[in-house]
Symmetry: D2
């Protein structure tokens, strides 16, 4: 009955990563059957395992769908073949069976050699350029570009959760509001120290709640201390930061006293109007008109930043990038070679950034809403760990450790 | 000591709306003092009240700040004067004491006459054109445009919660997950019926969760029934709707069976690639290639739609507006003269739309997260009422009533 | 048509408290009509207002229902009469129109004199004892006890939000996770200082999340510093505190390292077994067997505590009160004369305590879930203010201020 | 260096259940090392796997702690020995190394024979009675009772997620508010049908939110249809159900119209007073005084129920069990042999019930707050699946399917 079959192999920490379990689950869910032809188990924590699995299905369609799912999990066809390369049909148009990338390290077999894919990111097309394969956005594909299709000749290497990293246990923890925030902050501070000392790149992605909850001082200290190599956000964090620098309010709340200034939404519009007269945030800083805050420190420390616009923006500031294709491009440039990405109180820009980074970048999401981190994980950014607390308190605690 | 003073008046349902209480609270919070010189209370529910209040402060600065807050609450200077009009200083540049608008009905006194402000929306500048005052975005202001500044000659009319609307009690309810969803849906259905019968405009703002939670069929029925005059969303709802129409999955989940297709994120990229070959959603519908779903029904029923891009988009679809200034302009056009706005499972586009509409538009936000509605209210869209449930279930219940 | 009528009066800060607005809203909602016969408005913030309102209804039943709601809001019948007193019909049995108390200060008119009700709490019966009226639980009523019925002769005094309390602005704030936690903590610390200096009573109500999130040290410091006069909780906080003192884990998590000890639920059972051999927590402390933690400090500082059992308890500890009637009685004793009540991470015991305290006790609820505070407010404990953060971080910040 | 060692074996669906991965993770986390001496993998989905693992540690203490965690995961000492049995030291007092049970099926080796443990539940002691081993609460242990200690002679059988259950895919889904509620309800209805047809036992655990959200009618239909064999709750669900039956309000909200009856908390006290005159709910039903609602249907259909008291109860009703030890005992009796347990809108009673049931009982938790289900899972009730929606809507949808 199940007359269609394919033999796949997988290699790595198959058991302790849980990958083997996932592979078999997926086979069953697709109403296919499996037979494990070979299974060499790593004897100790340092050894790899190897599995060779025969998969059978009642239809070639269903088998293809299953392979669509197994290849990203690290399975590759046992019989080694080159990847199939097809020319793009037009701008942003590729054959329907194009390979859609994950954020895991990927190799493609070309002319008998396995080549590492460059600029790894998820939901991309793998374009084969003269100098090798690389991830590209569908929208950047042009007619005739060569793209990888089908399942042959593709190997995905899934990192397993790095169990040896004894120092950063919080990275192994599940998301929960019942965990000890202090411990996680202490370990994160240590990670930032190490990255900083090794001149690694730290990127901060932040939402306006950093300002509302009193995190400006902490963020400024991070920037001055050299712990931020790039800063990503939207129009709102910049507007509220500048509002706070100029008028000591944030969305009209007087941050020093907590006194609610009901309906006092006017100051954020004043802040935009204020910057408009200088033409940019940097110009306002240089003119001595803006003298404190996150944006001020970024300019002073020459940390590059990108503010992406959104449908809910007021203003926006002259620095805000209104075109989303351009904003994504700028985000991608600033995220390149990041080693640690900290996402503070912003689901929108957090997902935006997480979409662009490979799986091996350490991503930490700080949010008072546990659902935000869960959502990041659901989208495939499973490397993301979360600390459930408000951004202001987090930065206060972190400041003490840096 | 408090030698700076100003006498203001307010008129309307001051007590039952809670406005009078708010006015006095704000005075005290600003460390100013008040004396109620006159207070004529409406005897019955139909009568207006009138208050005349002398406010004293120790500094002119503090008095100005207080007036910044009292004017939006409906207070106006007792001594009638014309509004102060100043020319804009440049593109997107106005004097620092420009009046920042609310979403409440506003009148401006010009040459002794009170004129209704057109295109009322919040966080705008009031520009005085030859044919009268209107709200304008700061970014659209050009050098020399005349804008309203200061506090004189401005009257804001706050609607109070419409207590007579016995039929729509859910609109008076506080947001809570402990309320009866069925009752709220029944009343909302009745409101839609009445609006539809009177040829009023209903605008839907929807996020992709409508698709994930199984709301496509219900939404399609609404569109076919003529209950949707404009549709606002982002790239994601369109992509996942088309993914579902073509492949019966949504973010890789098989919606009919609930079977999770883990890591099966490929189909939404296929959907984008599919539409790319036609050049637009409408072209795909016309070619007979897209044959069902929300986007299909919108095209078939000739309901105008706007898809705003965002930093987290994949693709995007050719129909998605990538420039945020353009997207906001398109949203504003489609929201014009709306009588009912339904926001379904999207905070981002919900706030984007709510920013643009005047306070008298009935806005209903359906979200499983009570915090979303609270956030909408916090931003000043106090007319927004919430129904706490998931979009799919909501549309299932609503479908039964339409 | 509306032939049934009643004239009521209300006195106090009717406008700035929002009470007047509420009274009129309730009349309309009950489809009754009102006529404001007199309204003397307080000229300044220090003056009271007085309202005299004629209410008309189409049925005597509906008028009675409305009065059920207006009397707790501070309205009293304009025509002064004694309260109606009826004998209880049996144990826990009173006439159906008994007056159900609020937590606001209440006076009852007896033989022409207004008498203050003792032991004010909500959802109680007012029993008239020889020495005056007092609140009593329905279950404690015995046949023949005299209880207040109907609406005549009852005056409820609603405190309005104390606008003069400039120092504690956080108490006026709405619940939001977008506020600055540090400011609220600083002000709360100041409130605790003042209460402590004046030898006022501070009661802590705490859940096990205090232990899980690393708050033990902070709580111990509060106890040693004399900032806790009584401690209320359940079985779980004591078990996990002792588990942590003995084994350095909490629900099996190693708190110092954050290392998750999956499935390591055994230690909390060991802790119970450990205490069982001494017969009580106090005995284990005295024997030198338990040497640290919250329970240890309570015993050492002779702070009385009450642990209420629940359906989900393991053990329970010998100290846990398994009978709920007894546990409520013990809670009530410890809450008597409290000036500040801090509720930390427990909805169950928080509502239990809040049910028992009068409205003028300052109640602060610290919880990472904003819904918990909202729920406390919904139940009528509107005096409760919330700080949205996790208990461990909160106690860490508070510790720095004490 | 690691001179302490132990060889364990595990058998079953080790890979597809993820158990093997967990075992190895725990070894590493405890800084021990492993060597897989044997690993026979099941070739197909129907075959078991067998693993034999040598574990080494630097201390005997750390090895013991690790075994505390591995035994519940299904590992047993490779060298077969009888379980070690020790006499209890007193009432509620056992040796410190007693075995604390899980809710998974467990066998104990006595005199060379593996015996199934009766009355399996978590956090219990295994007592060896003359007729065999059974789980017992620590508090029920008496001096001299024989209890299982250490790690030898204990086998825990972990069920893996039942992948063949194609009909109930929702049971395999992760908790998310972005899933399709309708599909889950349809499958749950089918499960209830099958259980009902096979005369299996269905137990409902419900909180008062069932009444507030309009679920009374749906629940009544379930009871009348024979889909409820036992009903567990607290005082509140009964009080509010009776309040609704008598006065059509729930916490003062008129459920039919959704009209909020602010401050109208009096009716729930009237309901208690009403029942008090009859002495019990059943007596009120028999007297014809209570004629509708959930409690009415339970009495009429002779479905046994248990109402557990809590510290936050008003009243309580005469039927409410105030003693928690007695309440737990009554819950345990009603849960015995349950096949399906439905938990509706109550974390407190849900955890109470979940603590008592073995892992093979299908448990479904319906709650609008995803955190409730997560919390149930965290506590070890990993068999629990969740449907994120409000109870009223859920019962409305379910009613259509039954």
């Amino acid at each position: 009955m199940n007359t269609f079959e394919e033999v796949v192999e997988a290699k790595g920490h198959l058991i302790d990563s849980g990958i083997m379990s996932q592979i078999l689950d997926r086979v069953i869910e697709h109403k296919c059957t499996f037979e494990i032809e070979k299974f060499l188990v790593g004897k100790t924590n340092d050894d790899y395992s190897l599995a060779r699995i025969k998969i059978q299905s009642h239809s070639s369609e269903s088998l293809k769908e299953l392979l669509d799912i197994l290849v990203p999990l690290g399975c590759y066809l046992a019989e080694e073949q080159d990847a199939r390369i097809e020319p793009a049909l037009g701008s942003g148009r590729v054959p329907d069976d194009f390979y859609s990338s994950t954020n895991y390290r990927t190799y493609v077999r070309l002319s008998g050699n396995w080549k590492l894919v460059q600029e790894q990111r998820m939901d991309a097309v793998i374009r084969v350029d003269p100098d090798g394969p690389r991830c590209g956005k569908l929208r950047d594909i042009r007619k005739g570009d060569l793209v990888v299709c089908g399942h042959a000749g593709i190997k995905v290497v899934r990192e397993f959760k790095d169990r040896e990293r004894k120092d950063f246990t919080f990275m192994a923890s599940e998301i929960s509001s019942e965990r000890r925030v202090e411990v996680a902050v202490r370990q994160l501070a240590e990670m930032l120290h190490q990255t900083h000392a090794a001149r690694g790149k730290i990127v901060v992605v932040a939402g306006p709640v950093v300002v509302h909850t009193g995190g400006v001082e902490g963020m400024c200290k991070m920037i001055r201390g050299g712990y931020v190599q790039a800063f990503l956000g939207g129009n709102a964090i910049a507007v509220h930061d500048i509002e706070y620098a100029l008028y000591k309010t944030s969305l009209g709340v007087q941050l020093e006293t907590g006194m609610p200034a009901h309906e006092g939404h006017r100051n954020h519009m004043r802040a935009i109007n204020f910057i408009n007269q200088y033409g940019s945030v940097a110009a306002a800083v240089e003119a001595g008109a803006l003298q404190s805050g996150v944006m001020y420190e970024l300019v002073k420390s020459k940390v590059p930043f990108a503010l992406a616009g959104s449908i809910r923006d007021d203003g926006p500031l002259p620095d805000t990038i209104c075109d989303m294709v351009e904003a994504q491009a700028r985000y991608a440039v600033l995220l390149k070679d990041a080693e640690v990405v900290m996402i503070l109180g912003t689901m929108l820009h957090g997902i935006g950034a997480a979409n662009m980074i490979p799986s091996w970048v350490r991503t930490v999401c700080i949010d008072i809403n546990p659902a935000v981190v869960t959502k990041l994980s659901d989208r495939g950014s499973s490397q993301t760990v979360g600390i459930v607390t408000d951004a202001g308190t987090f930065l206060h605690l972190l400041k003490e450790q840096l």
